[in-house]
């Protein structure tokens, strides 16, 4: 039995169950008596917000990969590193594990996250009933791995802090790093604005057979 069918819902902050106002009341929100938060049956404008943020992150992802993450200044000249050139550098010098970590965290994870969120938004929008458990798992996966893409931003800032010898050799952050930071933050917010309960909404044969008549 699902809470939404009974006009009930739970506070997203403290978990308290609340009753929503009847459909004719004109407003959908309830107030949690325990923590005072506003409670909505579903996250508001979940699909359109998620879609907009994913599209924005796709736009940010292009300059994040094309523009340099950092500039390495030495007496011999300035060298600029993009994410991919960093990965290639590690692979060429034999640090396969680190190259792999950077590739997964900075290139693979953001793309997979965007694709999963697009897939979830599309399947909910078109009301698919199949693979609900799998889609929920995919959603939790995006929540779990999202923050790890920040690794590259941290690497750039630590390198800047350590390699700071004036004209001899110093490292500066590139514009790519800013865009990459935006990709990470925007995809994290996109994942947060998606409401996993939407995956289960809509009549399906299995749930309607369990629940004879209200």
């Amino acid at each position: 039995m699902r809470a939404v069918d009974k006009g009930l819902g739970c506070c997203s902050v403290c978990g308290q169950m609340v009753a929503f106002p009847p459909p004719q009341a004109g407003h959908v929100a309830a107030y949690c008596p325990r923590c005072g938060s506003e409670v909505f049956p579903r996250k508001r404008n979940s699909l359109s917000t998620t879609l907009a943020l994913v599209l924005a992150s796709i736009l940010f992802y292009i300059p994040a990969n094309l523009l340099p993450m950092m500039h390495v200044e030495t007496f011999a000249g300035t060298e600029s590193d993009t994410i991919m050139s960093g990965v290639i550098y590690f692979m060429e010098t034999g640090s396969y594990l680190i190259g792999f970590v950077i590739f997964v965290a900075s290139i693979f994870v953001p793309v997979v996250k965007m694709l999963i969120l697009l897939y979830l938004v599309a399947t909910v929008h078109f009301g698919w009933h199949k693979h609900r458990h799998e889609r929920l798992k995919l959603y939790h996966l995006t929540e779990l791995v999202g923050r790890w893409s920040m690794v590259d931003v941290y690497v750039v800032s630590i390198m800047i802090a350590l390699v700071h010898f004036g004209g001899l050799s110093s490292i500066h952050a590139g514009t790519g790093a800013v865009f990459f930071l935006l990709v990470v933050v925007v995809t994290m917010v996109a994942a947060m604005s998606f409401d996993p309960r939407l995956i289960w909404d809509g009549a399906s044969p299995s749930t309607s057979s369990k629940e004879p008549h209200a």
Partner: protein, 214 residues
Amino acid sequence: MKKTFVCCPNCDEICSIPHPIRPGRYKCPNCQHLIFRYWPDMVVRLYATNLAALILFVIANYFHLLSFAVVGNRADATLTTAIRYLYQEGDYLLAVAVLMTILVVPLLQILLNLSLFGPLYHGHLPRYAPHALKLLEAFGPWGMLDVFLVGILVSIVKLVKMGTIVPDASFWAFAALIPIMAYGQSVFDPRPIWEEIEEAQKAGRISCPSERIA
């Protein structure tokens, strides 16, 4: 046996849990996702881990993180060096993001936990408990010390070929801090505290922190 009803935040299924809560892990019967876990000694465990975390956090910020030497030049970096350089070079967005995710949010998380579980350990429910829990909920995944640790490791591998890089006291404090904070996170569940708050509200000892009375 009395029961309370909660809705699964992932699929909106109404699930029953015993009231008062008994120790254990509770899963949603529909989507199999963990709804909450409760260990009776949660308070003492969280008090202990957050006290340890605070001490380690102070050490991690006071001493040098890494020192890096290339022919005659030597640089020591603390946690905040990176933020300072980013700020000086005009990369404000990066500076703010790093400052928030590795300094402000983790510190506030530790302090809020202490201000909550310290009094609870001594049998007293603080009046600000609902606000503290709401803030902790809002911080969510934005404290990224664990990701930062991986960033440090990647930077070490990246710089090890350029010069001599030595991890300092702060690095080891960090390495100890991450598993302790992760353990604290894995034990934490706000629901039993919300139930205590509810009892206190019924007794008139705590008021509901309403944003608006419906």
